[in-house]
Symmetry: C2
Protein backbone atom coordinates (compact mmCIF):
# COMPACT_ATOMS: atom_id res chain seq x y z
CA UNK A 1 0.00 0.00 0.00
CA UNK A 2 1.07 3.60 -0.58
CA UNK A 3 3.40 5.23 1.96
CA UNK A 4 3.80 8.99 2.41
CA UNK A 5 6.30 10.86 4.57
CA UNK A 6 6.40 14.52 5.50
CA UNK A 7 9.52 15.82 7.19
CA UNK A 8 12.70 17.80 6.92
CA UNK A 9 15.60 17.91 4.51
CA UNK A 10 18.63 19.18 6.39
CA UNK A 11 22.17 20.40 5.98
CA UNK A 12 23.86 18.79 8.98
CA UNK A 13 27.18 19.32 10.70
CA UNK A 14 28.07 16.42 12.99
CA UNK A 15 30.81 16.25 15.58
CA UNK A 16 31.65 13.00 17.34
CA UNK A 17 34.56 12.24 19.70
CA UNK A 18 36.32 10.74 16.67
CA UNK A 19 35.44 12.86 13.65
CA UNK A 20 33.64 15.86 12.15
CA UNK A 21 31.48 16.08 9.01
CA UNK A 22 30.33 19.48 7.78
CA UNK A 23 27.31 20.24 5.61
CA UNK A 24 26.25 16.66 4.99
CA UNK A 25 22.80 15.50 3.90
CA UNK A 26 20.35 14.99 6.75
CA UNK A 27 16.74 15.56 7.76
CA UNK A 28 13.96 13.28 8.97
CA UNK A 29 12.27 12.78 5.58
CA UNK A 30 15.61 11.88 3.98
CA UNK A 31 16.56 9.22 6.57
CA UNK A 32 12.99 7.91 6.64
CA UNK A 33 12.77 7.58 2.85
CA UNK A 34 16.15 5.95 2.44
CA UNK A 35 15.16 3.37 5.05
CA UNK A 36 11.51 2.83 3.99
CA UNK A 37 12.44 2.40 0.32
CA UNK A 38 14.05 -0.98 1.12
CA UNK A 39 10.48 -2.20 1.56
CA UNK A 40 8.01 0.00 -0.30
CA UNK A 41 7.74 2.91 -2.75
CA UNK A 42 7.80 6.21 -0.83
CA UNK A 43 5.96 9.46 -1.52
CA UNK A 44 8.17 12.29 -0.29
CA UNK A 45 6.84 15.67 0.94
CA UNK A 46 9.28 18.35 2.12
CA UNK A 47 10.72 21.80 1.46
CA UNK A 48 14.20 23.13 0.71
CA UNK A 49 15.55 26.59 -0.09
CA UNK A 50 17.53 27.63 -3.12
CA UNK A 51 20.77 27.10 -1.16
CA UNK A 52 20.34 23.34 -0.89
CA UNK A 53 23.55 21.72 -2.19
CA UNK A 54 22.00 18.25 -2.57
CA UNK A 55 20.30 16.93 -5.69
CA UNK A 56 17.67 14.69 -4.10
CA UNK A 57 16.81 13.15 -7.47
CA UNK A 58 20.35 11.85 -7.59
CA UNK A 59 20.37 10.89 -3.89
CA UNK A 60 17.33 8.66 -4.44
CA UNK A 61 18.21 7.62 -8.01
CA UNK A 62 18.38 3.92 -7.08
CA UNK A 63 15.29 4.02 -4.85
CA UNK A 64 11.57 4.14 -5.55
CA UNK A 65 11.04 7.57 -3.95
CA UNK A 66 8.56 9.91 -5.66
CA UNK A 67 9.80 13.49 -5.20
CA UNK A 68 6.68 15.18 -6.60
CA UNK A 69 6.12 16.57 -3.11
CA UNK A 70 9.56 18.22 -2.91
CA UNK A 71 9.08 21.99 -2.90
CA UNK A 72 11.96 24.36 -3.67
CA UNK A 73 11.38 27.87 -2.31
CA UNK A 74 13.72 30.21 -4.13
CA UNK A 75 13.33 32.97 -1.53
CA UNK A 76 14.04 30.66 1.42
CA UNK A 77 16.91 28.84 2.99
CA UNK A 78 17.24 25.13 3.80
CA UNK A 79 17.03 23.80 7.36
CA UNK A 80 20.42 23.51 9.06
CA UNK A 81 21.41 21.55 12.16
CA UNK A 82 24.74 21.11 13.94
CA UNK A 83 25.25 18.73 16.85
CA UNK A 84 27.95 17.12 18.96
CA UNK A 85 27.86 13.54 20.25
CA UNK A 86 29.40 12.77 23.61
CA UNK A 87 31.65 9.91 24.60
CA UNK A 88 28.93 7.26 24.91
CA UNK A 89 27.39 8.27 21.51
CA UNK A 90 23.88 7.97 23.00
CA UNK A 91 23.72 11.61 24.18
CA UNK A 92 24.12 14.65 21.99
CA UNK A 93 24.07 18.44 22.26
CA UNK A 94 22.53 20.65 19.60
CA UNK A 95 25.14 23.31 18.80
CA UNK A 96 23.21 25.30 16.25
CA UNK A 97 19.80 25.27 14.52
CA UNK A 98 18.51 27.37 11.61
CA UNK A 99 14.89 26.40 11.05
CA UNK A 100 14.65 28.49 7.85
CA UNK A 101 11.96 26.83 5.63
CA UNK A 102 10.75 24.76 8.56
CA UNK A 103 9.53 27.97 10.24
CA UNK A 104 7.37 28.77 7.19
CA UNK A 105 4.08 27.25 6.02
CA UNK A 106 4.22 23.47 5.59
CA UNK A 107 4.52 22.03 2.07
CA UNK A 108 1.42 21.12 0.09
CA UNK A 109 0.64 17.45 -0.38
CA UNK A 110 0.38 16.89 -4.16
CA UNK A 111 -3.06 15.76 -5.37
CA UNK A 112 -1.64 12.45 -6.57
CA UNK A 113 -0.44 11.71 -3.00
CA UNK A 114 -3.78 12.47 -1.28
CA UNK A 115 -4.93 8.84 -1.46
CA UNK A 116 -1.92 7.65 0.61
CA UNK A 117 -2.79 4.87 3.07
CA UNK A 118 0.30 4.74 5.32
CA UNK A 119 1.50 8.13 6.55
CA UNK A 120 4.46 9.19 8.67
CA UNK A 121 4.52 12.74 10.03
CA UNK A 122 8.10 13.35 11.15
CA UNK A 123 8.84 15.59 14.09
CA UNK A 124 7.64 19.19 13.69
CA UNK A 125 5.09 21.50 15.38
CA UNK A 126 1.92 19.43 16.07
CA UNK A 127 -0.26 22.08 14.42
CA UNK A 128 1.73 21.69 11.19
CA UNK A 129 1.52 17.90 11.47
CA UNK A 130 -2.25 18.25 11.71
CA UNK A 131 -2.39 20.56 8.66
CA UNK A 132 -0.42 17.99 6.71
CA UNK A 133 -2.61 15.12 7.89
CA UNK A 134 -5.78 17.00 6.87
CA UNK A 135 -4.56 16.92 3.28
CA UNK A 136 -4.72 13.09 3.18
CA UNK A 137 -8.17 11.74 2.30
CA UNK A 138 -8.50 8.37 4.04
CA UNK A 139 -5.28 7.18 5.65
CA UNK A 140 -5.23 3.65 7.09
CA UNK A 141 -2.32 4.00 9.55
CA UNK A 142 -0.81 7.31 10.62
CA UNK A 143 2.38 7.38 12.71
CA UNK A 144 3.82 10.51 14.29
CA UNK A 145 7.09 11.53 15.93
CA UNK A 146 7.32 14.41 18.40
CA UNK A 147 9.80 15.92 20.88
CA UNK A 148 10.18 17.64 24.26
CA UNK A 149 9.73 21.17 22.83
CA UNK A 150 6.16 20.46 21.64
CA UNK A 151 5.28 18.53 24.81
CA UNK A 152 6.41 21.44 26.96
CA UNK A 153 5.11 24.36 24.91
CA UNK A 154 2.32 23.08 22.64
CA UNK A 155 0.71 20.31 24.66
CA UNK A 156 -2.84 21.23 23.63
CA UNK A 157 -1.96 21.01 19.93
CA UNK A 158 -0.24 17.69 20.54
CA UNK A 159 -3.13 16.13 22.48
CA UNK A 160 -5.52 17.25 19.73
CA UNK A 161 -3.28 15.56 17.16
CA UNK A 162 -2.94 12.36 19.23
CA UNK A 163 -6.70 11.78 18.94
CA UNK A 164 -6.39 11.62 15.15
CA UNK A 165 -3.45 9.26 14.70
CA UNK A 166 -2.79 5.54 15.06
CA UNK A 167 0.78 5.35 16.32
CA UNK A 168 3.14 7.56 18.31
CA UNK A 169 6.86 6.85 17.96
CA UNK A 170 8.70 8.71 20.72
CA UNK A 171 11.90 8.69 22.77
CA UNK A 172 11.52 7.07 26.18
CA UNK A 173 12.26 10.28 28.12
CA UNK A 174 9.73 12.17 26.06
CA UNK A 175 7.15 9.43 26.69
CA UNK A 176 7.71 9.91 30.43
CA UNK A 177 7.40 13.68 30.02
CA UNK A 178 4.23 13.49 27.91
CA UNK A 179 2.55 11.11 30.37
CA UNK A 180 4.02 12.81 33.48
CA UNK A 181 4.91 9.30 34.67
CA UNK A 182 8.39 7.94 35.40
CA UNK A 183 7.54 4.27 34.92
CA UNK A 184 7.84 3.70 31.18
CA UNK A 185 5.23 0.93 30.92
CA UNK A 186 2.68 3.04 32.79
CA UNK A 187 3.66 6.12 30.75
CA UNK A 188 2.95 4.22 27.54
CA UNK A 189 -0.41 3.05 28.87
CA UNK A 190 -1.26 6.68 29.67
CA UNK A 191 -0.34 7.75 26.13
CA UNK A 192 -2.57 5.02 24.66
CA UNK A 193 -5.40 6.60 26.67
CA UNK A 194 -4.72 9.90 24.84
CA UNK A 195 -5.70 8.44 21.47
CA UNK A 196 -3.21 6.35 19.51
CA UNK A 197 -3.78 2.59 19.39
CA UNK A 198 -0.02 1.88 19.25
CA UNK A 199 2.89 3.55 21.09
CA UNK A 200 6.56 2.82 20.47
CA UNK A 201 9.14 4.13 22.96
CA UNK A 202 12.68 4.34 21.56
CA UNK A 203 15.44 3.62 24.10
CA UNK A 204 18.53 4.35 21.98
CA UNK A 205 21.17 1.67 22.41
CA UNK A 206 18.73 -0.28 24.63
CA UNK A 207 16.21 -0.84 21.82
CA UNK A 208 12.50 -0.17 21.95
CA UNK A 209 9.17 -1.14 23.51
CA UNK A 210 5.85 -1.25 21.69
CA UNK A 211 2.46 -1.35 23.43
CA UNK A 212 -1.02 -1.39 21.94
CA UNK A 213 -4.47 -0.61 23.27
CA UNK A 214 -5.30 -4.35 23.56
CA UNK A 215 -2.55 -4.76 26.19
CA UNK A 216 -0.02 -6.44 23.88
CA UNK A 217 3.64 -5.61 24.52
CA UNK A 218 6.75 -6.23 22.41
CA UNK A 219 10.27 -5.47 23.60
CA UNK A 220 13.29 -5.63 21.32
CA UNK A 221 16.92 -4.75 22.15
CA UNK A 222 18.95 -2.71 19.69
CA UNK A 223 21.33 -4.59 17.42
CA UNK A 224 24.67 -4.64 19.32
CA UNK A 225 26.92 -2.07 17.68
CA UNK A 226 30.67 -2.20 18.28
CA UNK A 227 31.35 0.62 15.80
CA UNK A 228 29.07 3.61 16.21
CA UNK A 229 30.14 6.30 13.74
CA UNK A 230 27.13 8.66 13.67
CA UNK A 231 23.75 8.01 15.34
CA UNK A 232 22.07 10.96 13.58
CA UNK A 233 18.87 9.84 11.86
CA UNK A 234 18.59 6.53 13.71
CA UNK A 235 15.10 7.41 14.98
CA UNK A 236 13.84 8.35 11.51
CA UNK A 237 15.54 5.30 9.97
CA UNK A 238 13.75 3.19 12.58
CA UNK A 239 10.43 4.80 11.62
CA UNK A 240 11.25 4.26 7.95
CA UNK A 241 11.93 0.55 8.35
CA UNK A 242 8.83 0.20 10.54
CA UNK A 243 6.45 2.04 8.22
CA UNK A 244 8.07 0.69 5.05
CA UNK A 245 7.51 -2.90 6.16
CA UNK A 246 3.89 -2.15 7.17
CA UNK A 247 3.19 -0.52 3.80
CA UNK A 248 4.80 -3.48 2.04
CA UNK A 249 2.70 -6.02 3.94
CA UNK A 250 -0.47 -3.89 3.97
CA UNK A 251 -1.30 -5.14 7.46
CA UNK A 252 -1.23 -3.63 10.96
CA UNK A 253 -1.96 -6.64 13.21
CA UNK A 254 0.38 -6.99 16.20
CA UNK A 255 2.50 -9.79 14.69
CA UNK A 256 3.14 -7.62 11.62
CA UNK A 257 3.88 -4.60 13.86
CA UNK A 258 6.48 -6.71 15.75
CA UNK A 259 8.30 -7.66 12.55
CA UNK A 260 8.10 -4.01 11.48
CA UNK A 261 9.79 -2.93 14.74
CA UNK A 262 12.53 -5.47 14.07
CA UNK A 263 13.07 -4.11 10.54
CA UNK A 264 13.16 -0.57 11.96
CA UNK A 265 15.78 -1.70 14.47
CA UNK A 266 17.90 -3.21 11.70
CA UNK A 267 17.65 -0.08 9.54
CA UNK A 268 18.75 2.09 12.48
CA UNK A 269 21.69 -0.24 13.12
CA UNK A 270 22.97 0.34 9.59
CA UNK A 271 22.45 4.12 9.80
CA UNK A 272 24.82 4.53 12.76
CA UNK A 273 27.63 2.69 10.99
CA UNK A 274 28.46 5.72 8.81
CA UNK A 275 27.87 9.47 8.52
CA UNK A 276 24.72 10.90 6.91
CA UNK A 277 22.69 8.29 4.98
CA UNK A 278 25.79 6.43 3.81
CA UNK A 279 25.14 3.52 6.19
CA UNK A 280 21.85 2.92 4.34
CA UNK A 281 22.75 3.75 0.73
CA UNK A 282 25.51 1.13 0.76
CA UNK A 283 23.07 -1.67 1.71
CA UNK A 284 20.51 -3.78 -0.12
CA UNK A 285 17.41 -5.66 1.02
CA UNK A 286 19.29 -8.95 1.25
CA UNK A 287 21.67 -7.43 3.80
CA UNK A 288 18.69 -6.02 5.72
CA UNK A 289 17.04 -9.45 5.85
CA UNK A 290 20.29 -11.13 6.86
CA UNK A 291 20.73 -8.79 9.83
CA UNK A 292 17.07 -9.31 10.80
CA UNK A 293 17.78 -13.04 11.09
CA UNK A 294 20.92 -12.30 13.11
CA UNK A 295 18.91 -10.06 15.47
CA UNK A 296 16.42 -12.90 15.87
CA UNK A 297 19.24 -15.28 16.81
CA UNK A 298 20.76 -12.79 19.27
CA UNK A 299 17.48 -12.41 21.16
CA UNK A 300 15.97 -15.91 21.00
CA UNK A 301 16.06 -18.32 23.92
CA UNK B 1 25.25 -30.13 40.46
CA UNK B 2 26.15 -28.46 43.76
CA UNK B 3 25.85 -24.66 44.01
CA UNK B 4 27.65 -22.53 46.58
CA UNK B 5 27.21 -18.81 47.27
CA UNK B 6 29.34 -16.51 49.40
CA UNK B 7 27.97 -13.07 50.15
CA UNK B 8 26.41 -10.72 52.62
CA UNK B 9 23.47 -10.90 54.98
CA UNK B 10 22.23 -7.37 55.57
CA UNK B 11 19.92 -5.28 57.68
CA UNK B 12 18.52 -2.87 55.08
CA UNK B 13 16.62 0.38 55.29
CA UNK B 14 14.99 1.29 51.98
CA UNK B 15 13.40 4.57 50.97
CA UNK B 16 11.49 4.91 47.72
CA UNK B 17 9.41 7.86 46.46
CA UNK B 18 6.37 5.94 47.75
CA UNK B 19 7.37 4.17 50.96
CA UNK B 20 10.00 3.39 53.60
CA UNK B 21 10.99 0.05 55.15
CA UNK B 22 13.36 -0.01 58.09
CA UNK B 23 15.60 -2.88 59.17
CA UNK B 24 14.40 -5.42 56.65
CA UNK B 25 16.24 -8.55 55.55
CA UNK B 26 18.73 -8.00 52.75
CA UNK B 27 22.21 -8.93 51.56
CA UNK B 28 23.55 -10.50 48.39
CA UNK B 29 23.71 -14.09 49.66
CA UNK B 30 20.13 -13.87 50.90
CA UNK B 31 18.67 -12.60 47.61
CA UNK B 32 20.86 -15.01 45.63
CA UNK B 33 19.83 -18.04 47.69
CA UNK B 34 16.13 -17.24 47.67
CA UNK B 35 16.29 -16.96 43.88
CA UNK B 36 18.63 -19.89 43.15
CA UNK B 37 16.66 -22.28 45.37
CA UNK B 38 13.80 -22.27 42.83
CA UNK B 39 16.15 -24.36 40.70
CA UNK B 40 18.77 -26.10 42.81
CA UNK B 41 19.85 -26.80 46.41
CA UNK B 42 22.07 -23.96 47.66
CA UNK B 43 25.10 -24.04 49.95
CA UNK B 44 25.15 -20.76 51.86
CA UNK B 45 28.33 -19.12 53.22
CA UNK B 46 28.12 -15.82 55.10
CA UNK B 47 28.59 -14.05 58.44
CA UNK B 48 26.32 -12.20 60.82
CA UNK B 49 26.82 -10.58 64.19
CA UNK B 50 24.96 -11.27 67.38
CA UNK B 51 22.62 -8.36 66.66
CA UNK B 52 21.04 -10.00 63.61
CA UNK B 53 17.27 -9.93 64.11
CA UNK B 54 16.56 -12.52 61.40
CA UNK B 55 16.34 -16.28 61.91
CA UNK B 56 17.72 -17.47 58.57
CA UNK B 57 16.69 -21.06 59.30
CA UNK B 58 13.10 -19.79 59.38
CA UNK B 59 13.62 -17.50 56.37
CA UNK B 60 14.73 -20.48 54.28
CA UNK B 61 12.47 -23.07 55.97
CA UNK B 62 10.64 -23.86 52.72
CA UNK B 63 13.80 -23.84 50.59
CA UNK B 64 16.66 -26.28 50.10
CA UNK B 65 19.32 -23.94 51.48
CA UNK B 66 22.09 -25.51 53.59
CA UNK B 67 23.11 -22.97 56.26
CA UNK B 68 26.13 -24.93 57.52
CA UNK B 69 28.29 -22.07 56.22
CA UNK B 70 26.44 -19.40 58.23
CA UNK B 71 28.83 -18.05 60.84
CA UNK B 72 27.56 -16.05 63.83
CA UNK B 73 30.25 -13.85 65.42
CA UNK B 74 29.11 -12.93 68.89
CA UNK B 75 31.58 -10.05 69.21
CA UNK B 76 30.60 -8.53 65.87
CA UNK B 77 27.76 -6.63 64.30
CA UNK B 78 25.77 -7.45 61.18
CA UNK B 79 26.23 -5.53 57.92
CA UNK B 80 23.81 -2.61 57.56
CA UNK B 81 22.84 -0.66 54.45
CA UNK B 82 20.43 2.23 53.92
CA UNK B 83 19.56 3.61 50.51
CA UNK B 84 17.11 5.89 48.73
CA UNK B 85 15.62 5.25 45.30
CA UNK B 86 14.89 8.19 43.03
CA UNK B 87 11.86 8.89 40.93
CA UNK B 88 12.72 6.54 38.05
CA UNK B 89 13.56 3.68 40.49
CA UNK B 90 16.63 2.76 38.40
CA UNK B 91 19.01 5.10 40.29
CA UNK B 92 19.69 5.02 44.00
CA UNK B 93 21.80 6.81 46.57
CA UNK B 94 23.49 5.00 49.45
CA UNK B 95 22.58 6.94 52.61
CA UNK B 96 24.49 4.89 55.12
CA UNK B 97 26.74 1.80 55.28
CA UNK B 98 28.08 -0.10 58.27
CA UNK B 99 30.33 -2.86 56.95
CA UNK B 100 30.74 -4.43 60.40
CA UNK B 101 31.40 -8.19 59.88
CA UNK B 102 32.10 -7.58 56.18
CA UNK B 103 35.23 -5.63 57.16
CA UNK B 104 36.54 -8.66 59.07
CA UNK B 105 38.07 -11.91 57.80
CA UNK B 106 35.83 -13.76 55.35
CA UNK B 107 33.86 -16.78 56.56
CA UNK B 108 35.32 -20.29 56.27
CA UNK B 109 33.89 -22.59 53.66
CA UNK B 110 32.78 -25.76 55.55
CA UNK B 111 34.59 -28.94 54.54
CA UNK B 112 31.39 -30.51 53.24
CA UNK B 113 31.02 -27.57 50.81
CA UNK B 114 34.56 -27.75 49.38
CA UNK B 115 33.50 -30.04 46.52
CA UNK B 116 31.03 -27.46 45.18
CA UNK B 117 30.95 -27.30 41.37
CA UNK B 118 29.01 -24.06 40.70
CA UNK B 119 30.18 -21.08 42.76
CA UNK B 120 28.93 -17.49 43.00
CA UNK B 121 31.14 -14.96 44.77
CA UNK B 122 28.91 -11.99 45.49
CA UNK B 123 30.30 -8.46 45.49
CA UNK B 124 33.05 -7.85 48.04
CA UNK B 125 36.77 -7.00 47.99
CA UNK B 126 38.43 -9.06 45.20
CA UNK B 127 41.12 -10.28 47.59
CA UNK B 128 38.41 -11.76 49.83
CA UNK B 129 36.67 -13.28 46.83
CA UNK B 130 39.95 -14.96 45.93
CA UNK B 131 40.46 -16.27 49.49
CA UNK B 132 36.96 -17.76 49.35
CA UNK B 133 37.54 -19.27 45.91
CA UNK B 134 40.80 -20.89 47.08
CA UNK B 135 38.79 -22.93 49.59
CA UNK B 136 36.87 -24.71 46.80
CA UNK B 137 38.67 -27.78 45.41
CA UNK B 138 37.63 -28.13 41.78
CA UNK B 139 34.87 -25.74 40.78
CA UNK B 140 33.34 -26.17 37.31
CA UNK B 141 31.88 -22.69 36.82
CA UNK B 142 32.71 -19.67 38.99
CA UNK B 143 30.76 -16.42 38.60
CA UNK B 144 31.69 -13.17 40.30
CA UNK B 145 30.05 -9.80 40.89
CA UNK B 146 32.06 -6.64 41.51
CA UNK B 147 31.54 -2.86 41.75
CA UNK B 148 33.07 0.56 40.99
CA UNK B 149 34.90 0.79 44.36
CA UNK B 150 37.06 -2.27 43.60
CA UNK B 151 37.63 -1.24 39.98
CA UNK B 152 38.84 2.18 41.07
CA UNK B 153 40.87 1.24 44.15
CA UNK B 154 41.82 -2.46 43.86
CA UNK B 155 42.19 -3.02 40.12
CA UNK B 156 45.26 -5.27 40.51
CA UNK B 157 43.41 -7.60 42.89
CA UNK B 158 40.45 -7.66 40.54
CA UNK B 159 42.49 -8.44 37.40
CA UNK B 160 44.24 -11.24 39.29
CA UNK B 161 40.84 -12.66 40.26
CA UNK B 162 39.45 -12.33 36.72
CA UNK B 163 42.09 -14.79 35.45
CA UNK B 164 40.71 -17.47 37.79
CA UNK B 165 36.98 -17.26 37.14
CA UNK B 166 34.57 -18.24 34.36
CA UNK B 167 31.95 -15.49 34.41
CA UNK B 168 31.79 -11.84 35.44
CA UNK B 169 28.32 -10.43 36.14
CA UNK B 170 28.59 -6.65 36.26
CA UNK B 171 26.55 -3.44 35.83
CA UNK B 172 26.94 -1.84 32.40
CA UNK B 173 28.55 1.34 33.74
CA UNK B 174 31.04 -0.70 35.74
CA UNK B 175 31.83 -2.79 32.63
CA UNK B 176 32.64 0.46 30.80
CA UNK B 177 34.78 1.61 33.74
CA UNK B 178 36.64 -1.70 34.05
CA UNK B 179 37.41 -1.81 30.33
CA UNK B 180 37.97 1.97 30.01
CA UNK B 181 35.76 1.81 26.95
CA UNK B 182 32.42 3.61 26.45
CA UNK B 183 31.03 1.23 23.82
CA UNK B 184 29.46 -1.59 25.82
CA UNK B 185 30.03 -4.35 23.25
CA UNK B 186 33.70 -3.42 22.93
CA UNK B 187 33.99 -3.09 26.72
CA UNK B 188 32.67 -6.63 27.16
CA UNK B 189 35.12 -7.94 24.56
CA UNK B 190 37.95 -6.24 26.48
CA UNK B 191 36.81 -7.88 29.73
CA UNK B 192 36.75 -11.31 28.05
CA UNK B 193 40.42 -10.68 27.18
CA UNK B 194 41.09 -10.23 30.92
CA UNK B 195 40.20 -13.84 31.71
CA UNK B 196 36.55 -14.86 32.07
CA UNK B 197 34.99 -16.85 29.24
CA UNK B 198 31.57 -15.26 29.82
CA UNK B 199 30.61 -11.67 30.69
CA UNK B 200 27.12 -10.47 31.52
CA UNK B 201 26.41 -6.74 31.62
CA UNK B 202 23.31 -5.78 33.61
CA UNK B 203 21.40 -2.78 32.25
CA UNK B 204 18.72 -2.37 34.95
CA UNK B 205 15.29 -1.80 33.44
CA UNK B 206 16.83 -2.30 29.97
CA UNK B 207 17.79 -5.93 30.61
CA UNK B 208 21.16 -7.52 30.03
CA UNK B 209 23.73 -8.54 27.43
CA UNK B 210 25.86 -11.71 27.60
CA UNK B 211 29.00 -12.26 25.51
CA UNK B 212 31.37 -15.22 25.48
CA UNK B 213 34.92 -15.75 24.29
CA UNK B 214 33.67 -17.57 21.15
CA UNK B 215 31.97 -14.36 19.94
CA UNK B 216 28.42 -15.43 20.83
CA UNK B 217 26.10 -12.66 22.03
CA UNK B 218 22.70 -12.82 23.74
CA UNK B 219 20.59 -9.75 24.50
CA UNK B 220 17.47 -9.89 26.63
CA UNK B 221 15.25 -7.00 27.75
CA UNK B 222 14.02 -6.84 31.33
CA UNK B 223 10.51 -8.04 32.01
CA UNK B 224 8.32 -4.91 31.70
CA UNK B 225 7.41 -3.82 35.23
CA UNK B 226 4.50 -1.46 35.76
CA UNK B 227 4.77 -1.69 39.55
CA UNK B 228 8.30 -1.31 40.86
CA UNK B 229 8.18 -1.39 44.66
CA UNK B 230 11.83 -2.05 45.62
CA UNK B 231 14.66 -2.91 43.19
CA UNK B 232 17.08 -3.82 46.00
CA UNK B 233 18.57 -7.25 45.38
CA UNK B 234 17.55 -7.47 41.72
CA UNK B 235 21.16 -8.00 40.63
CA UNK B 236 21.74 -10.81 43.15
CA UNK B 237 18.35 -12.34 42.33
CA UNK B 238 19.38 -12.27 38.67
CA UNK B 239 22.63 -14.04 39.55
CA UNK B 240 20.68 -16.53 41.68
CA UNK B 241 18.29 -17.46 38.88
CA UNK B 242 21.18 -17.65 36.42
CA UNK B 243 23.44 -19.85 38.58
CA UNK B 244 20.54 -21.87 40.01
CA UNK B 245 19.42 -22.89 36.53
CA UNK B 246 22.99 -23.74 35.47
CA UNK B 247 23.49 -25.89 38.57
CA UNK B 248 20.15 -27.61 37.95
CA UNK B 249 21.00 -28.39 34.33
CA UNK B 250 24.69 -29.15 35.01
CA UNK B 251 25.65 -27.57 31.68
CA UNK B 252 27.35 -24.32 30.63
CA UNK B 253 26.98 -24.34 26.81
CA UNK B 254 25.72 -21.06 25.33
CA UNK B 255 22.13 -22.23 24.80
CA UNK B 256 21.93 -23.22 28.49
CA UNK B 257 23.53 -19.90 29.50
CA UNK B 258 20.85 -18.05 27.47
CA UNK B 259 18.01 -19.82 29.27
CA UNK B 260 19.81 -19.16 32.56
CA UNK B 261 19.91 -15.41 31.78
CA UNK B 262 16.18 -15.54 31.06
CA UNK B 263 15.51 -17.25 34.42
CA UNK B 264 17.69 -14.65 36.15
CA UNK B 265 15.68 -11.90 34.46
CA UNK B 266 12.41 -13.46 35.66
CA UNK B 267 13.68 -13.84 39.24
CA UNK B 268 14.75 -10.17 39.28
CA UNK B 269 11.34 -9.13 37.97
CA UNK B 270 9.64 -10.79 40.96
CA UNK B 271 12.13 -9.29 43.44
CA UNK B 272 11.25 -5.69 42.55
CA UNK B 273 7.54 -6.28 43.05
CA UNK B 274 7.87 -6.13 46.86
CA UNK B 275 10.24 -5.07 49.65
CA UNK B 276 13.08 -7.31 50.84
CA UNK B 277 12.82 -10.92 49.56
CA UNK B 278 9.02 -10.92 49.78
CA UNK B 279 8.65 -10.76 46.00
CA UNK B 280 10.47 -14.13 45.81
CA UNK B 281 9.19 -15.93 48.91
CA UNK B 282 5.60 -15.55 47.70
CA UNK B 283 6.34 -17.36 44.41
CA UNK B 284 6.78 -20.97 43.31
CA UNK B 285 8.59 -22.58 40.39
CA UNK B 286 5.39 -22.82 38.34
CA UNK B 287 5.00 -19.03 38.51
CA UNK B 288 8.66 -18.62 37.53
CA UNK B 289 8.21 -20.88 34.49
CA UNK B 290 4.97 -19.12 33.51
CA UNK B 291 6.68 -15.73 33.49
CA UNK B 292 9.61 -17.18 31.52
CA UNK B 293 7.14 -18.18 28.79
CA UNK B 294 5.57 -14.71 28.93
CA UNK B 295 9.02 -13.11 28.56
CA UNK B 296 9.63 -15.36 25.54
CA UNK B 297 6.36 -14.19 23.98
CA UNK B 298 7.11 -10.49 24.69
CA UNK B 299 10.47 -10.68 22.91
CA UNK B 300 9.78 -13.11 20.03
CA UNK B 301 9.25 -11.96 16.45
Amino acid sequence: MSLLVTGSIGIDTIKTPYSVRENCLGGSAVYFSMSASFFSPVRFVGVIGSDCPFDLAKVFADRDVDLTGLEIRTQSKTFRWAGTYHEDMDDRTTDHVELNVLAEAPPKVPDKFKDSKFVFLANTAPVLQQQLLEQINEPVFVAVDTMNLWIQQYLDDLTTLLKKIDCLIINEDEARMLADQQNLVKAMQNILDMGPSVVIAKKGESGSIMCNADGDIFILPAFPAADVIDPTGCGDSFAGGFMGYLAQSGRTDFETLKTAVAYGTVAASFTLEDFSVNGLTSKNRTEIDKRLELLRQLTKF
